[in-house]
C-alpha cells in the first residue's frame, strides 16, 4: 500500500538539500520500525517517491512524499509516529492512503503557492510592480535549463500575485508577496520570478504554502493541512 505524507520544512533545516532530506526520511522510517517496501534487484532501496524538490534555503508548509509499505500501517497515525524520528524543523503533518492509479506527485501537482517575505522594498512599490506584471500579456525572459539559455514567457506561469504589508512580522518591516505559480507544463524558479520584478531589488525569505492539483477545474491539495499545526508555522530559527 502507498501512503502520501505531507510534511513541513521550517527553520534552520531549510538549508538541507533535497537528496539529504530523502536520506533523512529513509532513516526516520527505519528508526520508527515501519514496514517500508524495498525495490527488487541487486541493491534494494526503500520505495520512497518525492514530489517537486524544494530549493535549498526555502521553507515549506507543503512538502510531500509517497511511501510504499510492504505491510499494513495506520495511515492516519503516521505523522505522530514519524515526527519524533525526524530532525527538528521537519514535521509530518498529515497522511492519506493513495492508489498507484492516482498518479505520482510529480504528475499530479500543477501549481504552487509561495509566500515571499520581502525586505528592502516598500509594499506600494512591490504592489505597483506586481500589477504591471499581471497586466502584461507576455513577459519574455531568458532562463537557464539544463545548462542552456532558453527563452521563456513567464506570464502564463504567474497565475496570481498578491502584495500586503507583513502584518505578522511588521515590527521587522517587510512586505508579503504571495505568488501562485504553475509547475506544469513548465515552471519557474523563485529567483527567476524575482528577476521579473526588476528594477526593484530586494531580498526575500521564501516559503512554499501549498502545492495544488487541479481536477475538472477544482483545486485541491494532495493532503490537506490539518487544522492545528501551530508549531510548524513558527519559524524555528
Amino acid at each position: 500500500m502507498r501512503a502520501r505524507i505531507r510534511y513541513t520544512v521550517t527553520g534552520r533545516i531549510r538549508f538541507l538539500g533535497h537528496r539529504d532530506v530523502a536520506r533523512t526520511w529513509e532513516r526516520a522510517l527505519r528508526r520508527a520500525g515501519m514496514p517500508v517496501a524495498y525495490s527488487e534487484g541487486f541493491s534494494p532501496r526503500p520505495k520512497l517517491h518525492f514530489g517537486l524538490a524544494l530549493s535549498v534555503g526555502h521553507e515549506s508548509l507543503a512538502e510531500y512524499v509517497d511511501v510504499d509499505f510492504a505491510g499494513p500501517v495506520d495511515v492516519a497515525g503516521l505523522p505522530s509516529e514519524l515526527t519524533p524520528h525526524l530532525p527538528v524543523g521537519i514535521e509530518a503533518v498529515g497522511a492519506v492512503a493513495v492508489q498507484r492509479a492516482d498518479g505520482s506527485l510529480q504528475a499530479t501537482v500543477d501549481a504552487c503557492t509561495w509566500s515571499l517575505w520581502c525586505t528592502g522594498v516598500t509594499t506600494d512599490e512591490l504592489a505597483a510592480r506586481a500589477a504591471e506584471l499581471l497586466a502584461a500579456t507576455e513577459l519574455p525572459a531568458t532562463v537557464t535549463r539544463k545548462g542552456k539559455q532558453v527563452p521563456w514567457d513567464l506570464r502564463p506561469i504567474i497565475k496570481a500575485l498578491d502584495v500586503a504589508p507583513d502584518i505578522t512580522t511588521n515590527d521587522r518591516g517587510g512586505s508579503l508577496l504571495t505568488a501562485e505559480l504553475a509547475t506544469a507544463p513548465r515552471g519557474i524558479r523563485i529567483p527567476e520570478l524575482l528577476a521579473a520584478f526588476e528594477p526593484l531589488v530586494f531580498t526575500a525569505r521564501v516559503t512554499r504554502l501549498n502545492q495544488w492539483t487541479t481536477t475538472d477545474g477544482s483545486r485541491t491539495e494532495p493532503v490537506p493541512m490539518p487544522r492545528r499545526v501551530s508549531h510548524a508555522l513558527e519559524r524555528a530559527s
Partner: protein
C-alpha cells in the same frame, strides 16, 4: 556563552552545502549555558581540522566526547570558506567565520584536535586563529582556552610544540576525564596561574606539555636531546593505553549527520591495536597490544546503534577486522537480526589477503558484488619480508581467484613504493602481480579490472623504519613512471598514484622537530590551508618557507638516520622499546620476518610488559580458515610462512533478503 547563529545565518545563502553549518545532527546534545553555571564546569570543543564531511564521522572524537560525563562537549561546524579556498587572511578577523556553534570557539575551556594526517597541521593553526586565540601557546594567558591535540600524528608532536598547550599520547578516553578534573580544580581556584595549570596537566599520565621541555641542539644544528625545564615534567612521557575495551562501549550515541559525509554509516570498533607487525605501519606499532571487544558487546552496540540511528550500513572497524576472534558469529548475528530485516549491509574496512576473508566478504554480500580491495603493499616476496607483510604470491592469487569465482568483478590493490632497499625489480613486481590478477580474472569475466594504487612510503616515528631516509620526489616520480610505462599496454590494469610532492612534506612533519613549527606558521600565514587537498597543496610555498627558516626538506625527510641519533620524540614513549625497534630495523634489512605475537610467544616490544597489560583476544588461535597460519615459522623458507594482510579497502556487503 553566546550563540553565533544570528551572525552565521545570513552567510548561509552564500556558501556551498550550507547544511554543514546548521547543527541539528541526530545524537548531538546541545549543552545549555547560563550565568548560573558552576564556575568549575569545563567545556571542551573537539574537532578534526578538515571539512565537515571528513570531520564529523571521526570515531576518535566521538569516543572521547561520550567517555566523559563531567564535561560538556561540542563539535564545531568548523571554519567556513567563502569564495576562494584560502579561508580568511590571517590578520583580519571576520567574527562570523568562527566555527563554533552555538557558542563561539574562544569561549570554550579547551579546544582539542584529533590528528591523523600531518598535512592538516596548517588547518590546526587556522582553527586556533579563527577562534580568536593566539596561535602560539606562549602568547596565551589565563583567559584563553587550552589547545590540546591527540591521535596518531601526535606520537611526534614536536612540529606543533609551539602551538599546543598539551598533547595526549595514546588512547584518549581515560585522559579526557582526568584532564577535565584538573582544569575544573584550577577554575574553582580562580583560573589565575596558567603556568601552574600546565604543570598540573603534565602530571596526568599520558599528557605531554611541550612548553615544559626544551630541545638542545649541537653547534652543527643537530638535535642532542629534549629535556624537561621543570621538576613537574617527567623525563619521558608514556602513552595511555586502555587495558580493556569492554569498559568503554563508546560511542553510545554516534552522531548522525543530516548531510552526507564520508563513512556515513554506523561504526563499531571491534578491536584496537594490531600485532601483525608490518614495519611501515605506524598505527599497528603504536596501538599495541591487541584489545578485542567482547563479541556480545559488539552485537549489542550494532543492534542498539542500528535501531537508534536508522542507518542501513554498519562497519566493523579495526586495523584488520578479519582477525577479530568473533568475526563469523558477529556477522551471522547481523544478518539474522530482525532489526536489520535483511536490508542492513556490513562493511569490513580492512581485509586480509586470503580466501577466508573473501569468503567472509562474499557471505555478507549476497547481491551485486562490485569490488574488493587487498593491500599486498609490495611487489616482491623479498620486499614483503622486509616490511614484514608476509603474503605469498599464492595467497594473493588464491584470494583473487576466489573473489572472481564468487562473482566479484573489480579488484583494487594497494602498494607502497620507496620502501627500504627497494630496487626497480621490486617496483616492477607490482606490475607482475597486477597482470597476473587480471589473467586470473579473465577465466571468469570478459573484462576483469584491477586498479593498482601506489603511494610513496613515508617513514613514521615509533616504527622500525623511523631511521630510513625516504625516497626523494624525483626518485618516487621515476618509480611511478617506470610502473606506468610497464603497464601501458595492460588494458585491464588501471594505475593510480599519490603525488610525491605531498609525500615529501608529509615526511618532513612525520619526523620533524620543533624548528619546523616556524615553517608551519609561515605556510599558514601565506594562505596554505587544506594542504591535504591536492588542489590546494603548493610545494613551492613549503620550499620557500623551509628556505626562509634555513631548513631543508632533505634533512628531515630524505636523510638516513643513524640508530644512535637523538630523535625529536625520544622523550615520548609509545610503549615500544627503542632497542626493539632497532632490532626490528636490522631484521628488516636482513629480510627476516617476525610472527604475530597475539598467537605466538612474546618478543618483548615493550607495549605490554612496559605497562603491565596483555592482549585481550578471545581466541587462542588465528581465525579459522585464514591462510595467515601464524603457527608457522616465519624465519624459515618461503613455503612455510605465515601471511598477513590487511587492507584498507572496503567491502560493502549487502545481506540478502
Amino acid at each position: 556563552m553566546s550563540s553565533i547563529w544570528t551572525a552565521l545565518e545570513p552567510l548561509l545563502e552564500r556558501v556551498q552545502r550550507p547544511a554543514r553549518y546548521i547543527g541539528l545532527e541526530d545524537g548531538a546534545v546541545v549543552p545549555e549555558y547560563s550565568d548560573d553555571d558552576p564556575v568549575d564546569r569545563v567545556s571542551w570543543l573537539l574537532t578534526y581540522p578538515d571539512s565537515y564531511e571528513i570531520r564529523l564521522p571521526n570515531q576518535g572524537l566521538q569516543i572521547c566526547a561520550r567517555s566523559s560525563t563531567s564535561a560538556t562537549m561540542r563539535w564545531p561546524s568548523g571554519p567556513m570558506r567563502l569564495g576562494g579556498p584560502r579561508g580568511r587572511t590571517p590578520g583580519r578577523r571576520p567574527a562570523a567565520l568562527l566555527g563554533g556553534y552555538p557558542p563561539a570557539c574562544g569561549e570554550f575551556d579547551v579546544i582539542a584536535f584529533n590528528l591523523s594526517a600531518e598535512l592538516t597541521f596548517t588547518n590546526v593553526l587556522n582553527c586556533i586563529d579563527l577562534a580568536g586565540v593566539p596561535v602560539r601557546s606562549a602568547d596565551r594567558d589565563a583567559s584563553h582556552p587550552l589547545v590540546g591535540v591527540g591521535g596518531h600524528c601526535t606520537t611526534n608532536p614536536e612540529p606543533l610544540a609551539d602551538f599546543v598547550d598539551f598533547v595526549v599520547l595514546g588512547d584518549g578516553e581515560e585522559a579526557v576525564g582526568e584532564l577535565t578534573e584538573v582544569i575544573s580544580c584550577w577554575k574553582r581556584a580562580g583560573s589565575v596561574d596558567r603556568q601552574a595549570l600546565l604543570e598540573e596537566l603534565a602530571a596526568v599520565e599520558g599528557v605531554y606539555v611541550p612548553s615544559l621541555y626544551e630541545p638542545i641542539y649541537s653547534a652543527e644544528g643537530d638535535l642532542v636531546e629534549t629535556v624537561p625545564k621543570v621538576a613537574a615534567a617527567p623525563d619521558v612521557v608514556e602513552k595511555r593505553t586502555v587495558a580493556d575495551l569492554a569498559e568503554w562501549a563508546y560511542p553510545k550515541n554516534q552522531l548522525v549527520p543530516l548531510t552526507e559525509v564520508v563513512h556515513d554509516r554506523l561504526n563499531v570498533e571491534v578491536f584496537r591495536g594490531c600485532t601483525r607487525g608490518c614495519r611501515f605501519c605506524q598505527a599497528g606499532m603504536i596501538t599495541r597490544p591487541v584489545r578485542e571487544r567482547p563479541a556480545e558487546q559488539v552485537r549489542e552496540m550494532i543492534s542498539n546503534g542500528l535501531a537508534r540511528t536508522g542507518y542501513d550500513e554498519v562497519a566493523l572497524t579495526s586495523l584488520s577486522t578479519a582477525d577479530f576472534s568473533g568475526i563469523e558469529p558477529v556477522v551471522d548475528g547481523i544478518m539474522s537480526d530482525p532489526i536489520s530485516a535483511g536490508q542492513v549491509s556490513v562493511s569490513l574496512p580492512s581485509l586480509r589477503v586470503d580466501a577466508f576473508t573473501v569468503g567472509l566478504a562474499t557471505s555478507i554480500r549476497q547481491g551485486r558484488r562490485t569490488g574488493l580491495t587487498f593491500a599486498p603493499e609490495a611487489g616482491t616476496w623479498r620486499m614483503r619480508q622486509i616490511i614484514n607483510k608476509l603474503i605469498r604470491e599464492e595467497d594473493l592469487y588464491e584470494a583473487v581467484e576466489s573473489a572472481y569465482s564468487e562473482g566479484w568483478r573489480r579488484m583494487k590493490l594497494y602498494f607502497l613504493t620507496g620502501l627500504p632497499s627497494e630496487t626497480d625489480e621490486d617496483t616492477l613486481g607490482i606490475a607482475t602481480l597486477a597482470r597476473n590478477c587480471v589473467a586470473i580474472g579473465k577465466k571468469y569475466h570478459q573484462h576483469p579490472s584491477v586498479t593498482v594504487s601506489v603511494g610513496g612510503f613515508v617513514p613514521k616515528s615509533n616504527t622500525p623504519f623511523q631511521w630510513f631516509g625516504q625516497n626523494t620526489v624525483t626518485e618516487l616520480q621515476r618509480k611511478i613512471y617506470l610502473l606506468r610505462d610497464e603497464l601501458k599496454r595492460d588494458h585491464g590494469v588501471q594505475l593510480k598514484w599519490h603525488d610525491p610532492k605531498t609525500t615529501l612534506i608529509e615526511g618532513v612533519f612525520s619526523r620533524g622537530d620543533r624548528r619546523i613549527g616556524d615553517v608551519l606558521e609561515a605556510v599558514w600565514r601565506a594562505g596554505g590551508t587544506f594542504q591535504e587537498w591536492t588542489e590546494y597543496f603548493d610545494l613551492d610555498r613549503w620550499e620557500q618557507a623551509l628556505a626562509d627558516a634555513g631548513l631543508s626538506a632533505e634533512y628531515y625527510a630524505n636523510r638516513h638516520r643513524h640508530v644512535d641519533e637523538a630523535l625529536p620524540w625520544d622523550h615520548l614513549s609509545a610503549g615500544l622499546h627503542k632497542d626493539f625497534l632497532a632490532q626490528d630495523w636490522a631484521d628488516a634489512l636482513a629480510e627476516v620476518g617476525l610472527p604475530d605475537c597475539r598467537w605466538t610467544p612474546c618478543y618483548d616490544c615493550g607495549a605490554c610488559t612496559g605497562y603491565g597489560i596483555e592482549h585481550v583476544v578471545a581466541s587462542a588461535v588465528p581465525p579459522a580458515g585464514g591462510s595467515q597460519g601464524t603457527g608457522q615459522d616465519v624465519t624459515s623458507d618461503v613455503g612455510a610462512v605465515p601471511v598477513m594482510l590487511g587492507t584498507t579497502g572496503r567491502a560493502p556487503a549487502g545481506v540478502g533478503s
